[in-house]
Subunit: 322 residues, 2 copies
């Protein structure tokens, strides 16, 4: 039945969070489950920090900083100034308000609570109706293999500003990590309308999720349409190092590299109108294709993309059933 059923979205940070925000407006958010990338998570200053999970949470709560793409709106920085004055590490910027989430989450995890429950409680307090799930409560850490050696993700991304040349990736802990049970249940929901792979970096935002046992199989098993939104538009990444990584890995900086990266896992690809010329190539690879504006420059753009993808998902599913 068109327009009903649940949706699962796999998301990294900024770009994914924008689409998730649009989805939460375009559909009943109670039927939306977001599986957030755990690969960016790290321990810093003794705190358990989950950047992508938090970007999604802040975005749906209306607390996100629209200018930086990370952290909170109306943030203050007294903590960082004082930390610098006592010689603490300041390369990773933690705002005063952001710190509340890090400190309280760390306290609760140390007290034995699981990350999924802590996240759900914070979402409840902030009035978030969608179900934001960390892909795993286990430790999963992206390691970026580069020309200067292996780098933990935040060292590569924040401290070194993505400057080292990438040769590969691995996801420490992923192979033995436990997938989030609520996330797996959402993927197994018989009323599932679509699985969306958000316009996030395939290598460092989506692959860490897919590397956790259970997710690939659950996505392969669903009868719902599995749709990826390309984060590469007109040969460029809207934000972040996706284009640089593709080039360094010897791949074309193109949406085609994205859909081929996902391979059989997806049924369909969403291309920006700038990439309309790639639609036939995608169809030739056996994919359904939606060509639509995907940049999401404002809230109207987020909503429009979400509506377009949901309608496309329903038509794709209807097609598959005929």
């Amino acid at each position: 039945m068109t327009g009903l059923g649940s949706v699962v979205a796999l998301s990294g940070g900024v770009g994914g969070a924008k689409l998730v925000w649009g989805l939460a407006v375009a559909m009943d958010p109670l039927n939306l489950t977001v599986i957030a990338n755990p690969g960016d998570d790290f321990e810093h200053l003794g705190l358990a920090i989950c950047p992508d999970l938090d970007t999604v949470t802040y975005t749906l709560a209306g607390h996100a900083n629209q200018y930086t793409g990370w952290g909170r709106a109306n943030e203050t920085w007294t903590f960082m100034d004082a930390l610098e004055s006592i010689g603490g590490e300041t390369w990773f910027r933690l705002g005063d308000g952001d710190l509340a989430l890090q400190v309280e989450r760390t306290r609760r995890l140390s007290a034995g609570e699981c990350l999924g429950d802590v996240t759900a409680d914070i979402c409840h307090r902030w009035g978030i109706a969608a179900n934001i799930r960390p892909a795993s409560g286990s430790r999963v850490r992206t390691v970026v293999e580069t020309d200067i050696g292996d780098l933990s993700f935040q060292h590569y991304f924040v401290r070194d500003q993505c400057a080292p040349r990438v040769t590969g990736f691995r996801f420490d802990g992923a192979s033995t990590a436990r997938p989030d049970e609520a996330a797996l249940a959402a993927l197994a929901d018989p009323s599932l309308r679509a699985v969306l792979i958000c316009p996030s970096n395939p290598f460092i935002s989506i692959d860490p999720i897919l590397a956790i046992p259970g997710y690939r199989a659950a996505i392969a098993a669903t009868s719902a349409a599995v749709i990826a939104v390309s984060p590469i538009i007109g040969g460029q990444a809207v934000k972040g190092p996706a284009a640089k990584m593709l080039a360094e890995l010897g791949l074309a900086v193109s949406a085609q590299s994205v859909w081929r990266h996902y391979g059989d896992l997806i049924d369909a690809i969403v291309l920006d109108t700038a990439d309309v010329r790639l639609a036939d190539a995608a169809r030739a690879d056996g994919l359904d294709v939606l060509v639509t504006p995907t940049v999401m420059g404002d809230d109207a753009g987020k909503k429009a993309l979400a509506h377009a993808i949901l309608a496309f998902a329903d038509s794709t599913r209807a097609l598959a059933k005929t």
Copy 2:
């Protein structure tokens, strides 16, 4: 030799820190060692918090909040607001800048550094010449015994606003705590000019220090004058629950109860001019007496009291040697 030599001050929070500030101006601060009360320390939000140590440190660094008597000047409170929004405990107010010290100290202690070294490093970075020492790197916790049961110090002091009726005190961990080696060495210095017991609460600011093995013996062994400054002036405490505690313990709310509490440990008492009528009683108890303004309403008052006490210490010592 008058005017030279080292000084050791035992201090709690606000009142003690004021006198310590005056001493650091009135003498060569390199010769000043401050032993800070560990009994107020506690774990909160997973952080190692040392309120009295920090008040002394902030005061000497010029970072102290003159209005609240605790925390930092020019503080912001974004963290507490955000913490409240996710249901965290907010009865103990931690400012955004204050939090830097708590987070970084907790990280360094967890990494195996000792509290004395971390404190010394922060003092160095903030240009503090005096030697601020935590009385112990071990866990020493004041428990306030009250009519509603035993309360950890911060629950009694901050959360319950000192409302419960006090019946006694104990200092968990003190009997097996290790005294700070630098503090003990300062007390054993042959050039020691004076040991000052600051105008801090005898029960909850000074007794926790004295309960740690080694301090009483070291103070008893010194040939320097041991001088207490009464925190009770004209039958009232300048700040805090000292007067209320004296009354609840069935003791006179008077400087006399203070000097008798310290007993043989001290050689002399400093009384405010409001208590000049008590001077003879103190002398009758075998003490040298200085009567001088002790309220320290501004920086000039802190300096004047420090100068007066140092001159008094030298004359008392000279007297003892004749």
